[in-house]
């Protein structure tokens, strides 16, 4: 012992008040902390920027210009020969746009014979009024022959012009609305007949080539089905696979290969999953094209690696002493894992799920090849019916030529983000419950 004390001469002897570089180290500490704050702020700043750029462009999409006028459901036009009792087709195929045009023309005082004027008036109302008025009549055939006050959808260009999104200073030829129409628009607005209303259509309508009637209803349902499928399949399969690989699989070259392989699957471009889905689910298994079932399966495969990687990392982080404790009590390995390890790994698993689902929710490319990047107007009732997804809708609207789609694209993005938040809130709350330091 004695030689020990003397040999590294005085290294351990008590020094007089040492200089341990406290200033420098605190500066480093502050810097480190500042990096953290800067990093976090950087991320949040860009989130804010992105959200701002989306919201500032998109919030107007939640309003829609409507023209509220008394509409005469003229029997003359709808059912001239009074055949509707015998031929139900009559009510379905009547010329409803004409009724709407006449109503607006009347409100504007455009003469019956002014063909050019009437055409201009017609351009101010959306073609979607055909469906709107038809549904009214079919629901209640009694209204034929009466006059009702109806809020008609204004055409997309009028909507854009009214919201100030069309530059009205350029020459008349170079824009979609004429000076005459702008005049009428203002006239109606002053009379209180034209105004902005909350746009429920964007939430419930199917896709449409007319911006004013277009909505994300079909896409919402499609995305909902797909996320449900991804959640129901990818989460349990991913967790099960991770448990096997992390807790049971012998550690050898083969499991190394599987590990590498899973990491590698995360790097496979998502469209390749679309190729796989086309080959396996549609061509081989005969599932229908454009179906959210197939979309969900493809996205499941795409999401699996994310969940597996996150889950494995989380399982690894559970301290071995917990496992030893449970095993020592006579719990089987399976019980140990399901009773103790898994709950402790839950935050990590949920993070993987959140990120995986977020990725799956925003992905378009793999859906291209299985027919889900498509124009679908009818609501799907089951996951086997054709449908689209929210990012697809965004992608397609972003490529539309009409001005009114610009704001709707951003509007759809806002809806997607809301969907994302709703979807993740559950997982985030759950994760917070499981989080615990020990």
């Amino acid at each position: 012992m004695t030689d020990v004390v003397s040999s590294p001469a005085g290294v351990l002897a008590k020094p007089a008040r040492r200089d341990i570089g406290i200033k420098r180290r605190y500066a480093a500490e502050r810097r480190f902390r500042a990096y953290g704050i800067a990093a976090l702020s950087f991320g949040l700043l860009f989130l804010a920027l992105l959200l701002w750029s989306v919201v500032s462009k998109g919030y107007t999409a939640f309003q829609q210009t409507m023209i509220t006028v008394p509409v005469e459901f003229s029997e003359q036009i709808i059912d001239k020969d009074n055949e509707r009792a015998t031929d139900p087709q009559k009510l379905l195929t009547a010329n409803y746009p004409l009724i709407a045009r006449n109503a607006v023309a009347k409100a504007l005082g455009v003469a019956e014979g002014d063909r050019a004027g009437l055409r201009a008036v017609n351009q101010m109302i959306s073609d979607a009024v055909r469906g709107q008025l038809r549904d009214m009549v079919v629901a209640n055939p009694q209204i034929v022959g009466t006059t009702q006050t109806v809020s008609l959808l204004a055409a997309g260009d009028v909507d854009s012009a009214f919201k100030g999104q069309i530059d009205l200073t350029v020459t008349e030829n170079n824009r979609k609305v004429s000076d005459q129409q702008v005049g009428w628009m203002n006239q109606l607005a002053e009379a209180g007949a034209l105004g902005k209303h909350f746009n429920t259509g964007i939430f419930v309508n199917g896709n449409s080539s007319r911006p004013e009637a277009a909505g994300v209803g079909v896409a919402l349902i499609g995305s909902f089905y797909m996320m449900l499928i991804v959640l129901v399949l990818a989460l349990p399969i991913g967790v099960a696979a991770s448990i096997y690989l992390e807790e049971f699989a012998p550690k050898n070259k083969f499991t190394d290969l599987i590990e590498v392989n899973i990491n590698n699957l995360a790097a496979v471009p998502s469209i390749v999953y679309g190729l796989l889905g086309l080959a396996v689910f549609i061509n081989f298994m005969g599932l229908p094209r454009s179906a959210s079932l197939v979309g969900g399966l493809v996205l499941t495969l795409m999401t699996l690696p994310t969940i597996i990687i996150a889950t494995r990392a989380a399982l690894k982080a559970v301290p071995p002493s917990i496992r030893a404790a449970a095993l020592g009590l006579g719990a089987s390995k399976m019980q140990t894992i399901f009773h103790h390890v898994l709950p402790l790994a839950m935050p990590g698993i949920l993070t993987g799920t959140i990120i995986g689902l977020a990725h799956a929710l925003g992905e378009t490319a793999p859906l291209l090849l299985i027919g889900m990047v498509a124009f679908v107007a009818n609501y799907p009732t089951t996951p086997m019916d054709p449908s689209t997804a929210l990012p697809v809708q965004i992608y397609m609207w972003a490529n539309e030529a009409e001005r009114a789609f610009v704001e709707r694209t951003s509007g759809a993005i806002i809806i997607l983000l809301l969907f994302l938040i709703v979807m993740n809130v559950g997982a985030i709350l759950l994760r917070r419950r499981f989080e615990r330091r020990w």
């Binding site: 979609k176 199917g206 298994m285 005969g286 599932l287 229908p288 454009s290 124009f375 107007a377 009818n378």
Partner: protein, 326 residues
């Protein structure tokens, strides 16, 4: 497993035809309330035809939209998969226009201007050299003032082919470079390739996306010249300034009369075996080719489709009714 009977038409293919097909599909559903609206996929002519040619039956699509005629080898692949009777339908023409940001003045371009501005190598003093032009003004005073920048369709787009054929090759000829190049390069194929090769120094930017992207790029770079479809341009006239090509203004009239040089036909293909089988398919096709849809006064024309001449449309209808296959 076999899917349950399908009750709507499925369409896939060219993204150029997509907007038209969408309008038709939507109007179709409104006009024939007992049919569901057809599902129209986007994904490119190639992808559409591939899905189309994968076989016959409910599991496969009924209609493929195309911005170019089907290719021989594709038709063979189709046959090999049992897709024998295919009807080709020409719906009209797509005009291709050149436009810059609306802040620019009136522009008049000739193919040879664009050739000079965009060719990878041009002939200077009898030699092929890398394109030396930097500013539009070096070429044509009416073009935007500033550095050359052009946003042209990427090589995945059929439009690019039309662009090379109708502008680059034509411009090459007009500029007298064809002969000069032939003098330098003996191989005819390579010589032709030189004419249409676009410069790759970042001046000519390939756009693989849609016209929205081109529009955004032009908004970000005011001296840039972009290639658009006529329909897209019509919808964004307030932001764009279109150029005349060889002194012809692009419009449905000039294109359908053939005066405006840059355009291409649009098609779709129908599986005859599905007609009368898939509910609404026959009606959809008939509706599509009716004058209500593709005539000069139709919604499609209003959107920007260049209607085919009357006799052509009539011929298409006749051929379809007669069940003429390829």
């Amino acid at each position: 497993g076999v899917a349950a009977a399908r009750d709507q038409v499925q369409v896939a293919g060219s993204s150029t035809v997509l907007p038209y097909a969408k309008i038709v599909a939507e109007t179709f559903a409104e006009t024939f309330p007992n049919f569901k609206a057809p599902v129209v996929e986007s994904g490119g002519t190639g992808g559409g035809l591939k899905a189309f040619c994968s076989g016959v039956g409910e599991g496969t699509i009924d209609v493929a939209n195309a911005s170019r005629p089907i290719n021989k080898s594709e038709a063979e692949a189709c046959k090999a998969a049992g897709v024998n009777d295919v009807q080709e339908i020409r719906i009209g023409y797509d005009g291709i226009v050149f436009a810059a940001d609306s802040s620019n003045g009136d522009m008049k371009i000739e193919p040879k201007d664009l050739y000079k501005a965009l060719a990878a190598e041009v002939v200077v003093d009898g030699k092929l050299v890398a394109n030396p032009y930097k500013n539009w003004s070096d070429i044509n005073a009416t073009l935007p003032k500033g550095p050359i920048a052009a946003y042209i369709p990427g090589s995945k787009h059929g439009t690019r082919e039309v662009f090379e054929e109708k502008i680059m090759a034509e411009g090459c000829k007009e500029a007298g470079a064809t002969d000069a190049i032939k003098a330098l390069i003996t191989d005819a194929k390579q010589a032709a390739a030189k004419c249409v090769a676009v410069r790759k120094d970042g001046v000519a930017v390939d756009i693989d996306g849609d016209y929205t992207e081109t529009l955004a790029r032009i908004a970000a770079n005011k001296t840039g010249l972009g290639v658009f479809g006529l329909a897209f341009y019509e919808n964004n006239k307030d932001k764009l300034k279109v150029a005349t090509v060889s002194n012809v203004v692009a419009s449905t009239e000039t294109i359908s009369s053939g005066k405006y040089p840059v355009s291409r036909p649009l098609f779709f293909y129908v599986k005859k075996a599905h007609l009368g089988v898939i509910p609404g398919l026959k009606e959809y096709v008939e509706f599509f080719i009716s004058d209500d849809m593709v005539g000069p006064e139709s919604p499609l024309a209003e959107y920007g489709l260049v209607a085919a001449p009357d006799d052509q449309r009539e011929q298409v209808r006749k051929d379809f009714a007669a069940g003429k296959t390829m």
